[in-house]
Point group: C3
Chain length 313, copies 3
């Protein structure tokens, strides 16, 4: 199959073949990062702009490393940059960047839909690196790559996503992706943090973690956004941890070969106990490693792809 999409805005409309192509391309690129010379000339002379309106260490760094390993030039903009402070609109900022002839613009924005809006106004390829509570497709793809590596497949697996489902773009993108690939997806969390009607996305809803993780192959813990909580959604962090954190005891209810995922950064002792985060079932750091490979694959495919064989040095 050949990649035809110009942008990557979300998992919602990605087809099975497209997901498979990204994962296979990422597998090929993964090897590059373990070489002594971690670099292929594939994107030499291409410009990738990172336009980040929300702070991020992990995603921005992962993207920057991915771009550099493909030999692309990278330029980073952050929300405290002056034009944003000076009150320029998102579209004007984007059109100005566009005028400098980048090949790909990667955007993270606090407003859901911002990346889609950009596609109407600029000609570059757009990658959504997280938009509000909407989607974070490269996170879902790196999660899927990690599961595929560990389990050999995605179809037929049982995945439980635990935590603040309402505000999580990671949850949404993974629900779209895993259900599309034939996995069973369960969500669990406090009733205040599970959107009404989420069953329509094809998931099973649980309000007790113990029930949700019974017999699952994968547990994905979401981060509690400490900076956002002010007691509206649950009484105290301590109460949240007591009922919803993943600890060794709860873990026993899952399958024996369960894997534990977390998009990071983790709050040790809040949504996940240190024993679990660092334990033998955790694949949290594999996710990070796979993040670089998936983003290399996405940049590569959106920049025009072509034969991987020819493009390696």
């Amino acid at each position: 199959m050949v990649w035809k999409r110009k942008h990557l805005l979300g998992m919602e409309d990605l087809e099975v073949d497209e997901i498979n192509l990204v994962l296979e391309t990422a597998e090929s690129f993964k090897e590059v990062s373990t070489r002594a010379i971690k670099k292929v000339p594939t994107m030499r002379g291409k410009t990738v702009v990172n336009l980040f309106f929300e702070s991020s260490t992990r995603t921005r760094t992962s993207l920057e490393i991915a771009a550099k390993r493909l030999s692309a030039d990278t330029i980073s903009f952050t929300a405290n940059s002056s034009s944003v402070i000076k009150g320029e609109t998102l579209i004007d900022t984007a059109r100005n960047i566009e005028a400098m002839n980048p090949d790909i613009i990667v955007i993270r924005h606090f407003a859901g839909g911002a990346p889609y809006l950009l596609t109407k106004y600029v000609n570059s390829s757009i990658i959504n690196a997280g938009d509000g509570a909407h989607e974070h497709p490269s996170q879902a793809l790196l999660d899927m790559l990690t599961v595929k590596e560990k389990k050999g497949r995605l179809e037929g697996l049982k995945l439980a996503i635990i935590g603040d489902i309402s505000h999580s773009r990671v949850a949404r993108s993974n629900i779209f992706g895993f259900t599309r690939m034939g996995a069973e997806v369960r969500v669990a969390g406090p009733a205040t943090l599970i959107p009404i009607g989420i069953e329509k996305m094809g998931v099973k809803v649980f309000y007790r973690v113990e029930k949700a993780i019974e017999g699952v192959d994968i547990i994905m813990m979401l981060r509690i956004q400490l900076e956002r909580q002010k007691g509206q959604f649950f009484p105290t962090l301590r109460e949240y941890s007591r009922f919803f954190a993943l600890d060794v005891k709860k873990l026993k209810l899952a399958k024996e070969d369960v894997i534990i995922m977390h998009p990071g950064p983790i709050n040790r002792g809040i949504e996940i106990s240190p024993e679990v985060a660092d334990g033998p079932y955790s694949v949290i750091l594999d996710q990070v490693t796979n993040g670089v490979a998936v983003r290399m694959a996405l940049l590569y495919l959106l920049a025009g792809g072509g034969s991987l064989l020819n493009s390696e040095s």
Copy 2:
């Protein structure tokens, strides 16, 4: 002609031949940014330091992209960097940077004359990327390149610069540049924002926009620095907009093939109406594109130049 200047501090003393050489070199480089591989090896192994004491998205990014397309290494310093916070003097900061053997130092500083001061203390080539209300020569050169592209020439054209003339380094540099090249320059704005005696720079002064733009080929709108205004210069933004903003109605007074420029970032609805900013006469985004080309030309010429033909890969 051969480029002999070591620094680019302002338009005030640039000769006609020098301006033409920059514009012609920029035209050659412009093509590089439209290639699939947007890179020439011209400045491989050269180091360009961006030393920014005022925030900037556009100029800094434009310079970084220009340097990378020439294969130079770039290092960026910003005003919130620690040495500045720690109270080091400008000259000590610059001499320290110099000791790391950069080839070119690009400086933006809130004090007029800072780039000139540096030339007395360091050996590197200095590019002024904006100093107080004094000069911003690379902006004027990209403006001139844009006009030349659209009109085929600079000589004999009529240019109206509208807005806060007093505090605008963009206005000053363009006045020097366009008058030197034989264009007629008019300035207009509230009387409080037009410096007394500016006629000595060879411009015509107007206090009504309608009069200033009558029959002109080019209108250059300046940005109202919202962050600076506190009612000293005009009563309210609304009043300013009413009298000085460029809208479709006022636009009709100019020549039929007038072009509209703005150094950005624009304040939509304040100094320029969205219909005009996005309309058919606007060349605002061409200015941004030309900014990269002009800065490639400047870096190239100051780094030693040589035959462009040989330097391309």
Copy 3:
């Protein structure tokens, strides 16, 4: 001799042969920075991550330039990056970076021992770029390179370090390094700023600058951390300057060919008079130049070294 160390955490346990190897390698690299093309392909395709939990202009820039001149890719993290704000632990941050397969992690941290802690949790090579009041080994090595260049040797020289000895990682690293190489080290400062028992490090303690610099070959002035002083350690800056600043008069007590060093950024008129900082004995800017060379050497040796001859292009 062959470099065998994986990390550079401090000067405390560096052997004479190791110090000599770093200095000799730095001497070879120094020439690279004076070439027209300031770049060797030695570290092409290697990734260097700068992880800075304290602000720094000089050290971070010096490292970035060093890495780029070796053709390595660099990624910078700073303390205001989001993961740190979001409350991730140091070890989790480091393990996440590690998962992206960097070759070398350079860390600056406000807590002494942080770089050592990292070595227990990550597999990359770690360079300590300053940890609390503990060590700053690359600074000591660049200081030693500067002295060796100016004096031809280290053994038998007399060095006086003046200022806030208690809080200075620069002082500690230099004490370890210079005493190891057979130099005599003296320290001087207000009694409140000299740690009790420092004689055990093999130094002579003075409370009067005049006595300390009598007959020395090298004077190293330390920076007064203006931002830290609140009157606990000395009554006023003026009083400090009066007694401890290096001025032309005090300077006469040293040897005729004394050299003056300072790790920067300097506080003109506080710990050092402008006449001395800019005078003929000052080697402060040589230190900065040598910083790039020493950091090239360290990156090169920690990344696996090999024959310098073969690695140059």
